[in-house]
Symmetry: C2
Subunit: 145 residues, 2 copies
DNA sequence: TCTTTATTGCAATCTGTTTGCATTTACCTT
DNA sequence: AAGGTAAATGCAAACAGATTGCAATAAAGA
């Protein structure tokens, strides 16, 4: 059911394996590679009957972010969005996002990026410790038809 | 005092030249090339005595954004930030931002960008109408010492 | 099973922002 | 220079997303 490495990571961090946490993770897993808000998670979890409070979802997301199981994005205005980091994301994670202006879906774009060149220019100008985030928008392939 | 083209733009849009609007613009002008929040604008305007309501500042910023005199950014978490677009910004504006992790200052980086290459790759994959925003962070030259 | 400590639910609180509405103001007409 | 009109304002109330305090609960180790 839940991938083992997730369980391991939570335990290794000294966090308990609680019901709200399992529920949140399950939703995030189903939503792999996409972003989802706390409220959307809440609604998915509680659509039949209320089994978990919104507060706990926020707290869970915060904890999971701290142990780098979850990535939070304030990028797209509105409510913060979250996604489960994949096992490999966790090692060399890099943030390129695409938001479709039509369907609103946020997609994580994998692959190399050339912003590094840009960063090198900035280093020459006295900036340091650089990191970056890139947000693209437009029409996604399915809305493009 | 106020640059003429700003006045012209406001009139051309059919907006009235009101006191709150003039006050906000004056603050934005002084803050050229930097971002500032509604609340900071409020405090600057009213530091001696209250001359303008926060609501009007929000409404002013929204109006000015609509006529593209102001750019709003929800980029950096926290409160939205605004800046006055320069005359030339208005024509080929491009958004590259740098936020210093130390002093918190947000800087607008001018200059060309190579993300266009990235966009070209995406076009081949079926995306269209692409635009992008790039956020960099790290230490600015002054905090780097 | 017992004990300890983290985690939970709930209500209250917070911050940033927006809205409704009565009053005022800019500015166009006379 | 006054007057009329629609736009813009101030104030209070509402809003949304998120956070906090606290007493009750439940997970994990003994
Ligand atoms: Mn990159
Ligand atoms: Mn660019
Ligand atoms: Zn789409
Ligand atoms: Zn700095």
């Amino acid at each position: 059911m839940d991938e083992q490495w997730i369980i391991d990571k939570i335990k290794a961090a000294g966090l308990k394996l609680t019901r709200p946490r399992m529920l949140v993770i399950e939703v995030l897993r189903q939503n792999k590679n996409g972003f989802i808000s706390a409220d959307e998670i809440f609604n998915l979890i509680n659509h039949k009957e209320k089994v978990c409070d919104l507060t706990s979802i926020y707290r869970t997301l915060t904890s999971l972010e701290e142990i780098q199981l979850v990535e939070k994005s304030d990028f797209f205005g509105e409510a913060s969005q979250y996604r489960l980091l994949s096992h490999q994301d966790h090692y060399h994670h890099h943030h390129h996002y695409f938001k479709c202006n039509e369907c609103g879906k946020i997609e994580v774009l994998c692959g190399d990026c050339n912003v590094v060149q840009y960063e090198n220019d900035l280093k020459k100008r006295g900036f340091s410790n650089l990191s970056h985030r890139l947000e693209l928008s437009g029409l996604c392939p399915s809305c493009n038809k």
